[in-house]
């Protein structure tokens, strides 16, 4: 079934549908129905998800339903995220409705991808090969991912590297790219045309804003890519670019630390992860500027394994 993009619907229509039977959006291989009585979701959906296939039909089979609900009391208005009617996380201040939706959707996609290997890492593609960017919070993986995805790399995901265990390739589940604190300004100044939500402050992760991925990445959501390169980035202000090649064994160990479902998948999980990265080139890098890094990435990184 092919749905028209969400952008064809007027924002007011999205709002009334969210308040009613819901809006179904295809995010990679998942079709989810979204409802919300908050009044705060239709605008970011309209802005960021315009290229996503969408349907307003109440009767189509979906993978799951998420709902953003007003809760709390007049002096402490809150929003809660419901997945299939259950609330997996605590409520947040009402103004954080949109970030809560994005976090919740990430959680739902990670959970429902449990039969694949799900790694906490950003991933982009160029020339048919995936570049995986794992990284601890603060290592700059999201910023780097945004910088690549907003130039000529294709975004597969800014949070979840999902390895299909049948084909051992990375699934494409593109989503708006989350940016925090200083990265927001950095990306805005570098990419003048980027569509970005207004930053929301005082979330548990600091200021947060979301950048719209390229329509092309969303439209190619069914095109997976084998892993060509794994890069462990570390941002350090003022540092000169330093590139240290590492072994695949080292990369495997680091990736497994960042795998959500390694325990669930047991030995098949790590065997498949090892196979999926067996031919990848692996590096640890320290950088302070994209301008140093991008030429190297665009040349070295794209040499076929």
């Amino acid at each position: 079934m092919i749905f028209p993009p969400l952008g064809e619907l007027a924002p007011s229509k999205i709002e009334t549908s969210l308040q009613g039977q819901g809006v179904c959006i295809a995010v990679g291989p998942f079709l989810c129905r979204i409802t919300s009585d908050t009044g705060l979701l239709s605008s970011p959906l309209h802005q960021l998800y315009s290229a996503y296939p969408a349907s307003l039909s109440p009767d189509i089979l979906v993978d799951f339903e998420v709902s953003l609900r007003r809760t709390g009391h007049p002096f402490n208005r809150q929003v809660e995220f419901l997945w299939e009617g259950k609330s997996p996380f605590p409520a947040l201040p009402f103004s954080q409705t949109h970030p809560l939706f994005e976090w919740g959707l990430n959680w739902a996609i990670a959970t429902l991808s449990g039969n694949d290997v799900v790694i906490h890492a950003a991933v982009v593609e160029k020339n048919g090969f995936a570049l995986v960017l794992p990284g601890d919070p603060g290592a700059g993986k999201s910023t780097l991912c945004a910088a690549l995805a907003l130039s000529d790399w294709r975004l597969l995901s800014d949070e979840l590297t999902i390895i299909d265990r049948q084909t051992l390739t990375v699934r494409s589940v593109p989503r708006p790219i989350s940016l925090k604190d200083k990265s927001i300004r950095l990306i805005q100044s570098r990419f003048a045309n980027v569509q970005m939500t207004e930053p929301i402050s005082e979330t548990r992760k600091g200021d947060i804003a979301y950048a719209k991925p390229h329509d092309d990445a969303v439209q190619k959501a069914n095109q997976p890519a084998p892993i060509g390169t794994i890069l462990f980035p570390k941002y350090r202000a003022g540092a000169t670019l330093e590139i240290i090649p590492t072994t695949n064994a080292f990369a495997l160990a680091k990736l497994l630390e960042n795998t959500f479902n390694v325990g669930l998948l047991g030995k098949e999980g790590f065997v498949d992860t090892a196979k999926a990265i067996a031919n990848a080139a692996c590096f640890e890098i320290t950088y302070s500027s994209f301008d140093d890094l991008l030429p190297w990435l665009n040349s070295e990184c794209l040499v076929k394994p």
Partner: protein, 348 residues
Amino acid sequence: MPSQTLADLLRTPNTSATLDEAGWNSVIRTARQTDLLGQLGSAVMETQKKETLHWRIQRAFNLELTTARRRNEAALWEVRNIRKLIPSEIPIIVLKGCAYALANDRNAAGRMFSDIDLMVDADHLEKVESALISGGWKPSQVSAYDQKYYREWMHEIPPMEHVRRRTTVDLHHAIIPIVSRFAFPAQQLIAAAIEILPGVFILSPADRIIHSSVHAFLEGVPTKALRDIYDITCLMKQHYPDQPRPEELLVRAGQLGLEQLLMAALEASEIIFGKHVRPRHQTVKHSLRGRCLAVAAQSPLKPGQLLGNLMAHALLAHSHWMKMPWYLLIPHLARKAWIGLTQKNTAT
């Protein structure tokens, strides 16, 4: 056609072809809410060719079935480890989900459980607890009151979590709180238990069904009761086919003083899942307790119904009545209410 509920589909999984997409949405959602999706998947995929199911439905079922299988394997691995930790002369009895998996009971396929429920004779409790601690299971940090609540009144000690693996063990010395009006010595269960691995025992099929019946009432939570009743339905079909009221089972429940609870649970199982047991026209008078349990357990399937909500509260009240005598219960509930008003995060 009336909308098919999860219960209908669990009873007759071969009718799933009649469900339309909207029907599947609602069934899968309800199954997720009641933790029955894996068991539904197992039942449907047993009666129906995989290819006839939409790939989204297959994917949802497959994930639950894999997760349940992995958790089963992990739990059985823990049980073998625990067996090595505990002095070999002490028999350990595995209860609930882990026992169904060990017994290879039909309800184990796709059944999700997270805690390992073990039972030992009360005389061995201290030794077993310290053996578990030496193996890395950390006793819960609970208040002095909760320690007393568990140790002096209940049938289990506070849950223990493994420091590295995060697995939780619930160590029991009975299946009913020791201060309950239904309390009886666990030796009666231990004597009839079946050795399934060297030194590892499970309750006899009759006792497994009786334990599930007790559990449905003791937890006082509709979704859990529904799952217990589905367990009972599967165990009855497997161990007592075509016998709605097996003599052996009733006699056993009588010995333990649990006949009324068992009967009520069997009735609820018939009301919710049980066309197979008796012809429709034959009117059987069900007990009030059985009917109330059935309505309460079905309340998550039909949210928002007044009677269902009422019975869900009645089930909770009944669980308190079962757990302890009024002279303990009233101060306990008053204390819980006070803590609930003044701070968050209290135990049971």
